[in-house]
């Protein structure tokens, strides 16, 4: 049995509108990578090209944020629930100016 990955509304269009999809893998990273292979539109949306977790995304295994576990190396087992949600942040201070190269 694979894990179930719950997608945020903003990513569902990349998976045919599905709220959740199955994915195989021994770790969160493997499951999400397999998911991006099956649904190429998800590629780069959760895991960066360098294999790190996207800064503006939170990923959970069951009730726990993987950043407080082993990150993308967090092991998953059959029937685990993996949830992806956007990081929600902002505030009144303006962003710093872009770096001049």
């Amino acid at each position: 049995m694979p894990v179930t990955v719950h997608l945020p509304t903003v990513l569902r269009s990349h998976a045919g509108g599905a709220k959740s999809v199955p994915a195989d893998g021994a770790t969160v990273g493997e499951a999400l990578t397999a998911l991006a292979v099956e649904h190429p539109g998800l590629s780069g949306q959760v895991i960066n090209g360098d294999g790190t977790l996207h800064k503006f995304v939170n990923v959970y295994v069951n009730d726990d944020d993987v950043r407080y576990l082993a990150g993308l190396d967090t092991p998953v087992t059959d029937n685990d629930q993996v949830s992806i949600l956007p990081a929600v942040a902002g505030g009144a201070v303006p962003l710093p100016p872009p770096l001049q190269v």
Partner: protein, 135 residues
């Protein structure tokens, strides 16, 4: 248009006032097709700042599950600006997570809190009307 029950409006403003002097934040659950808000989910501001907010990811997960289990979804976020207008800052625009969401600002700059709602799509901000539904 964003349709707010008066109870949700009151909950949002109260949560923002209680959060002073820091910014406060929360999520709105409801019907994404109609913009009808059903539930206010006050969340912790992990940034604990008067100028920044970060919705606690654990609170977000709980709110998302609750909204989805009721057949709806999270359709927006609210946060306070403690000393500035109820208008999205460049930070808010740059970090807007979902173009389908409603972005509600609660300004506490003046004595009477000001609540306004916006859509943020591809970096473009447009204000939308807010209708209050009686209790």
């Amino acid at each position: 248009m964003l349709h707010l029950p008066e109870a949700v409006h009151s909950q949002m403003v109260a949560h923002c006032l209680v959060g002073l002097p820091d910014e406060a934040c929360g999520l709105l659950g409801g019907d994404p097709d109609t913009g009808e808000v059903v539930t206010c989910y006050p969340t912790r501001n992990l940034a604990r700042s008067a100028k920044l907010y970060t919705v606690d990811p654990k609170d977000h997960l709980r709110a998302d599950r609750d909204a989805e289990s009721g057949g709806g979804s999270i359709i927006g976020v609210f946060h306070s600006h403690t000393h500035t207008d109820a208008y999205p800052s460049p930070t808010d625009v740059a970090q807007a997570p979902d173009p389908a969401w409603h972005y509600v600002l609660v300004s506490l700059r003046d004595i009477c809190p000001v609540v306004r709602s916006y859509r943020i799509v591809d970096g473009t901000v447009s204000e939308e009307p807010v209708s209050l539904r009686p209790l």
